[in-house]
Symmetry: C2
DNA sequence: AAGTGGTCTAGACCACCGA
DNA sequence: CGGTGGTCTAGACCACTTA
């Protein structure tokens, strides 16, 4: 008995996971009650529960009080996850940056903008034209158009005060939590006017990154369209296996 | 005493979380030992441990055997996560694709390649030159250079048999789990020779996506360098707020 | 060597669910 | 109502870190 290697609850968890995978405990069926398992494997119920907790963490089983422990899946989904502590980490700037607002205007969604923002035709948006600079530099990192839902136009007052993260203002000023963010990346060439703003060459390669920020009920709160010229920025994402075992 | 409302471990977890937030247990300090807490709050150590487990799940504390329970943060971080069920989902091809291998060669890492692959100078790699096509089309989606660690050169036999995912072959053929993957995205212009392969125009914008696949102990198993011309591919990632509660 | 968290036991009672 | 998982106790010993 290789009791030295790992805790008994882990050994039991492994055994049960194998039995689930082998089909001895089919998906949809119930595992034996905890007391039965305890007797069967000669350990206390507490240890059995610790083992079963592992299986639950892996998503293999579902525990329901008064019913039993139901098998949900034969194998743990090998999920790879990437995590951010703040959505502003999407930017991944190694250095601090500041935002310079070059203009703002109200826009009415035409067909193209409505498609881009997934809104109805004629929807009004407050649009900011901005450039993002390193705090200590004069070469912009990005040209950014920011679209804000009219309800939140009040952030206009704040947008130049804080160097940080525009979309986060909606969270802090209006208490509207950002639930989801989507990021879309495509390659583009710099147009002459944006190239001039960015002090880069027209026709140089760039990343177009569109970000959409959603609140409760999937409502789009704000959106941005970012142009990053080459060499100044790299988008990097790490994915980790969730249950490294 | 609102003992009816929630389990005692939850009540204790709430109390401790408040104390951490208030600064009574500052970040970096150690919580009292479990036995002390048990006596102080008049409950068993098991219940205390259940409470502390909650705090650990929220990321507020770090438990270290032989040391103690260290306070890590005053508030649970609002974490945003993106999840993939398979690393091949990184590709996000809406349609099925096939891989066409156009050539293979052994390469010795010079300074540039060593930097790219984070390996030592002189390291040997097996390099495949490939294009990825939709199964029903003749226009390639991407030009891809694949680097494989010599130990896994056996996948050479398989690479043309399966249309699927090259790096996954290492998992299935060698039982070497991919623990982590990193993706780096930069804008580039198509060079003349790659443009020809991709049936696109030289000088057109493209995404250069470098992916690194790591196994146990952070060892690089394989890597790829992908060139996606505009319009044929869009990289999209969704981040969701994870409810730490 | 002392003290910490990690594991484990053998009990007990409670809350919930379905027949 | 009986049986399930959920909570909880009062012990015990082990593994690990630090001094």
């Amino acid at each position: 008995m290789p009791s030295s290697s790992s805790p008994r609850y882990q050994q039991l968890a492994d055994v049960l996971a194998r039995h689930i995978e082998s089909g001895r405990y089919p998906v949809g069926s119930l595992l034996p009650p905890e007391t039965d398992l305890a007797q069967q494997y000669g350990m206390s119920r507490h240890t059995v529960r610790e083992a079963i907790r592992r299986l639950a963490d892996m998503g293999l089983i579902l525990r329901r009080q008064g019913v039993g422990t139901e098998v949900r899946a034969r194998q743990p989904e090998s999920r790879y996850v990437a995590a951010l502590n703040t959505l502003s980490d999407l930017f991944q700037y190694t250095q601090r940056t500041k935002l310079k607002v070059m203009g703002e205007e109200w826009v009415i969604a035409d067909a193209e903008l409505a498609a881009q923002l997934h809104c109805e035709l004629g929807q009004r948006w407050l649009k900011f034209l901005t450039c993002r600079y390193p705090t200590d530099g004069k070469i912009p990192i990005a040209y950014t158009e920011i679209f804000v839902y009219p309800m939140y136009e009040g952030i206009r007052e704040q947008i130049n005060n804080r160097s940080a993260w525009v979309h986060g203002l909606i969270e802090s000023e209006y208490g509207e939590k950002i639930i989801e963010a989507r990021q879309e990346i495509e390659p583009v060439l710099l147009s002459a006017d944006i190239a001039k703003l960015l002090r880069a060459s027209a026709g140089a390669p760039a990343l177009q990154v569109r970000r959409y920020y959603f609140g409760a009920h999937g409502r789009l709160l704000s959106s941005s369209n970012n142009i990053y010229p080459e060499k100044r920025f790299k988008i990097s994402t790490s994915w980790r296996l969730e249950w490294a075992k």
